[in-house]
Symmetry: C2
């Protein structure tokens, strides 16, 4: 952990620079929150005008602020910020939050001022948060350096990094209504210095933080983020909401891969590589976070549904399948035990429908039975207002059972006033509730994903990761040399002007070869006798050459004949595309899928950030129809999957070691019963400076 960042969440003393006695000023709000938060360190105020605030002296110079003090909150006029940073440096304050706006976000002049701030900060070794941010909150320490309207955010286990202060503020209020809370919150603002990657370890190393959520609008250093996040994700779940998905500008691409590799695709690949869970919506991000914060992880993806009504049970079953979970097959003993306590009209099979008459005791007993079943990895309880009982009693009884087991249980708590007290019961017991089965299913699914990720040992990502990449040699190898260096088989085609050249080339390529007449005037080579396949030796090639020239001359007497094209005969097989486009933020983005000219139309492609390991290459293949059918399908014979996987890995290594290559694409790669051949390869290098 970077200890220079410690003061942002755990300062020894804080000074509010620009503290104000006017309640409508931000400088008042920050002072108020610091005091009200219950922060136990030293609290100091400074401003141009001396005075008193919250029974504390307002100093007119930072030099007068007594020890301890290691964090400054700067609420000073934009133009005065550089001087304030310098004052901090001189006073020995090594961390500052710049609340003021009016920097990079307003144009060139502001950007220059921001740059000036950074330079001064570097001179005095001051770390900067912001500008244009709302600061930090630690609900457990506690500490609140923001000016947000009180009360402080609810205490909880979610660490929250937000680019946007307004988004963070709205979420804090929303979360209060939803009944969940935060451990640490930081808004990054313009990220002149400290960025999301810097802050990740600050939340990871915080014991109160059980799960980390990031709201991001851009990325400062893609590769560093992936590296740090993948370390973090092995320890704590990380969920990201990346907005600006559709901003991805149009760029001129030299390959299909380049055309398809939009910026958002790279973010997808980067999150996957790092083990970061990408949420689709803000609501989903926190639905997931609440489950990951409080639930034990399931051993598998087999879910039991417990309901007192058929309809919501069907919704739940649908949603589980939609999210890749499966309805648990209940064991015989479970079915018997359920039958013993449920009325005959109830459904003891999953989803277990106890009927509307189910009492709190029946809910609890059935839940106990389900959680005992070895075939059940987790349970969704569906609780619409029970017609004859109070929902809160169901909640209370259920919680007792939930606490006995180490399996995740989430609640679809449907309704409003009639289930409000039940909601409080579950909340107090740290059992996540969702207003509908669909959202509860999504939460269970993310638990299963996380469990699988942990079981796969962090998906073994990064094991051949960024560190392996050797710097480019600087020597521009030819395409053929590159393919040879990385042991990617190719099938070059060459023009032979006479039979001796033809034999020479065939010897070079190896037999069998294909010979095709080389003439700009002949469209239908076959019809003119201008194609000869499966030539097995030099003798057949020589006699074939003479025969072909004769046949063609007789069929097309006026055609200009330049010679013949010789190519190693590549057997029939399946064809795929393998490509790489270099993303400016994340580096080599690998693509695999259905090739040909239709790549962009069909879009049967998958992406993964390079360099690839075996599991990642296989993952890309499984995601596409092109990859799945390599095993064979109907009358399409199986081909050499491993050869494809190997070429994918080799090309990703090539991309990692040759950063001067911007795009490279094998299209098609012909995949044979044994082996695979790059039939056509294209490449685009960075223009040399």
């Amino acid at each position: 952990m970077d200890t220079s960042l410690t003061p942002f969440f755990n300062p020894k003393g804080v000074v509010v620079v620009g503290a104000s006695t006017s309640p409508e000023k931000l400088g008042y709000g920050v002072a108020r929150n610091l005091i009200q938060s219950g922060y136990k360190g030293a609290i100091h105020f400074a401003a141009q005008k001396s005075g008193e605030l919250f029974e504390r002296k307002i100093h007119t110079s930072l030099q007068d602020v007594p020890d301890p003090v290691d964090l400054a909150i700067l609420i000073v006029p934009t133009q005065a910020t550089p001087q304030a940073i310098e004052d901090c440096g001189k006073r020995g304050i090594k961390a500052a939050v710049i609340v003021s706006a009016g920097f990079r976000e307003v144009g060139e002049e502001g950007a220059a001022l921001e740059q000036h701030c950074v330079e001064i900060a570097q001179t005095y070794n001051v770390r900067l948060l912001g500008p244009n941010c709302i600061g930090t909150i630690d609900t457990h320490l506690p500490l609140d350096t923001t000016f947000l309207q009180p009360p402080m955010p609810t205490q909880g286990g979610i660490g929250f990094i937000s680019h946007s202060g307004a988004f963070a503020a709205a979420i804090v209020d929303w979360a209060r209504g939803q009944g969940f809370g935060f451990s640490r919150i930081v808004s990054l603002g313009n990220q002149a210095d400290v960025n999301e990657t810097d802050m990740l370890p600050m939340l990871t190393d915080d014991d109160a933080t059980k799960v980390i959520v990031i709201y991001m609008e851009s990325i400062s250093n893609g590769r560093r983020f992936v590296q740090t996040a993948s370390d973090v994700a092995k320890r704590k779940p990380v969920i990201a909401l990346k907005v600006g998905r559709f901003e991805a500008g149009q760029k001129a691409a030299a390959s299909h891969t380049g055309a398809l590799a939009a910026s958002d695709t790279a973010f997808d690949a980067a999150f996957e590589k790092a083990g970061v869970l990408r949420a689709e919506t803000a609501e989903q991000m926190f639905d997931w976070a609440r489950a990951l914060e409080t639930c034990p992880l399931p051993k598998g993806n087999r879910i039991g549904i417990l309901t007192n009504a058929g309809g919501p049970g069907v919704i739940a079953a649908d949603s589980l399948e939609h999210h890749g979970l499966v309805l648990a097959q209940l064991s015989e003993s479970t079915l018997e035990a359920l039958s013993a306590i449920l009325p005959p009209a109830a459904n003891t099979h999953n989803p277990v429908d106890m009927l509307a008459s189910a009492s709190p005791e029946v809910y609890a007993e059935c839940l106990d039975i389900l959680l005992q079943d070895q075939n059940v990895d987790g349970v969704m309880i569906i609780l619409p207002p029970p017609p004859m009982f109070k929902a809160e009693v169901v909640a209370k009884k259920s919680v007792e059972v939930i606490n006995k087991f180490d399996k995740p249980v989430v609640i679809a708590l449907m309704g409003s006033t009639l289930i409000e007290n039940a909601g409080n019961e579950f909340r107090d017991a740290r059992v996540p509730t969702y207003p509908f089965p669909e959202r509860a299913a999504s939460a269970l699914a993310v638990l299963a994903r996380r469990a699988k990720f942990i079981a796969d040992d962090g998906r073994q990502t990064m094991d051949n990761g960024f560190m392996v990449s050797r710097p480019s040699s600087g020597v521009s190898l030819s395409m053929d040399d590159l393919m040879q260096t990385y042991d990617i088989p190719t099938a070059p085609i060459k023009l032979a002007r006479d039979e001796n050249e033809a034999v020479q080339m065939a010897n070079e390529f190896g037999y069998p070869v294909v010979m095709k007449i080389a003439s700009p005037d002949i469209l239908h080579k076959s019809d003119a006798g201008g194609v000869m396949l499966n030539i097995k030796d030099a003798k057949s090639l020589q006699s074939g050459y003479a025969q072909m020239i004769k046949q063609v001359k007789s069929a097309e007497p006026d055609a200009k004949i330049e010679g013949v094209h010789i190519q190693r005969q590549i057997p029939e097989g399946q064809e795929v595309i393998i490509g790489m486009a270099r993303d400016p933020q994340f580096g080599a983005l690998m693509m695999f899928g259905s090739g040909g000219v239709e790549v962009e139309g069909l879009k049967d492609v998958a992406f993964c950030l390079g360099p690839l390991n075996q599991a990642e290459a296989e993952g890309m293949m499984r995601k596409t129809w092109a990859g799945r059918k390599l095993k064979g399908f109907r009358n399409i014979p199986p081909v050499d999957e491993e050869a494809v996987r190997d070429v994918l890995i080799k090309l990703s290594r090539l991309a990692a070691e040759h950063e001067e290559i911007e795009e490279i694409e094998i299209n098609p790669l012909r995949v044979l019963t044994r082996g695979a051949v790059a039939v056509d390869v294209r490449m685009k290098r960075v223009a040399m400076p």
Copy 2:
């Protein structure tokens, strides 16, 4: 409208059969709700035991119940239900709600009892709702025949048909918390008699109902539903949540079309044909309903975003694009007007970011400017808690502006306690709010979809609809005859045993033809000289025949030669699949897409319920890559799109007029520069009884 159903929502008098004085009994709850609902018609009670309830006499015989009475709510023991229905019939009560459960849902015996009820009801012309249902509610009449816990559902404009009573009950409570309400609610239960299709017109003809939502688990009569719903959808928006999506059993299919045409696909196609909006989740169904209930429809899909914070503005912009809407390009005068009132650091381009300092007045003025812009079809206001102002004042000022225009405005109202009062302001003004921009965008999108549907005049569906279908002739036409009858060009292939037969067939097919050696022993026909293309006349065919036999015999002396296959030469072109599988509920389900053997793997297919009109056929083509590339792509030349569309329509007509055909599939249809040819056609007929 079926007037026999009128008593369910607008009875002259209601009798509760099985009324009870015990507050824990359903028979008490129904009596209480009837009284408390404020229902102005006659309310009667009947039970085995005489007495008094809510100052009314409890009759011991239905015969004693005085006029007016035309609706009975039956809360009697399951076994006593048939007798109760008979009593109703004899008393002249023609509509009954069966609340009791224990019928079809519990097994064979219950099913028999249910059937018995239906027969008695038919005998006495009594319409039945249920059994196993919770009855009906009309908040405007008012009327409440259910036993749901009071208070009654909030009054509103959403008509709600639910298969599940428990789901309806939970939604009613949830909706109260969300601040929206209902016009009419009906739970259908087992649908022994009245089903969802019957109830649709009851909500459509109700003036208070602005939008209809249906929660469905199955369908009673698919074709009738599509027909009725498509009439209804032209008048009022209909939203369906169909659950049990993943239940679709595996069925043995004779074609790719059959294999891919799962039951849920048929529901998708049915809803689309009928103009019913299919929601993915319960929450989405009501998000959509609230917008459709209260908002004017937009003229187009260009949306303005008004925000006081950048982050949520980006989320909103992303979501709009995700839902197929576009960010409005603001006009010059709009930009100028915004600049005049916003601070320099604000963003006047869409999304319009007024900055955190935006006052209620600035919100209102900017909204006014946006709504005046001809380029803006609708607006999303983003309202997180404003740091310096009260959100409810922003709401109040905004509502005044919203009411001046006939454009839809939805609110992303982010937060909880800090925006609660603002929520009430918007609620009272009937302006829909959503907790996040993503959900607000989805609501705007459904408004745009509805507007387009109306503009397209009900999507011109059904104009060659079900009525056109002639009944099958009963004569089993051969495949060739069928193709000829419906004018679908084919390319039959025939075996000629000598050169005369070959010439005869070629004359039949028309020149040019292809001739291929017919021999079970020759794998590589080309290599053996066994293929001749582009034969232009009889003379060439004759000489070619002799030559081919000679060549092949010389190349493969031991091969058994059966003759030659003659086929009309079909030029190169693109290949697609066109198929039909008959869905048991909805009838002919048409499929179009990428053909070959990979159909099921690639899944580049679209479905539409037949019979197809031109717009529908073209819609299917646009949805698939196979259809889009008919126009040409890169080096793939364009082919005859219209020919494909025509074959689609013709095959759908064939399917409509030949109900004995269960599946039929053209794979591939070769599409040429002009015209299209069915190269291979397969068909499966219903086994004749």
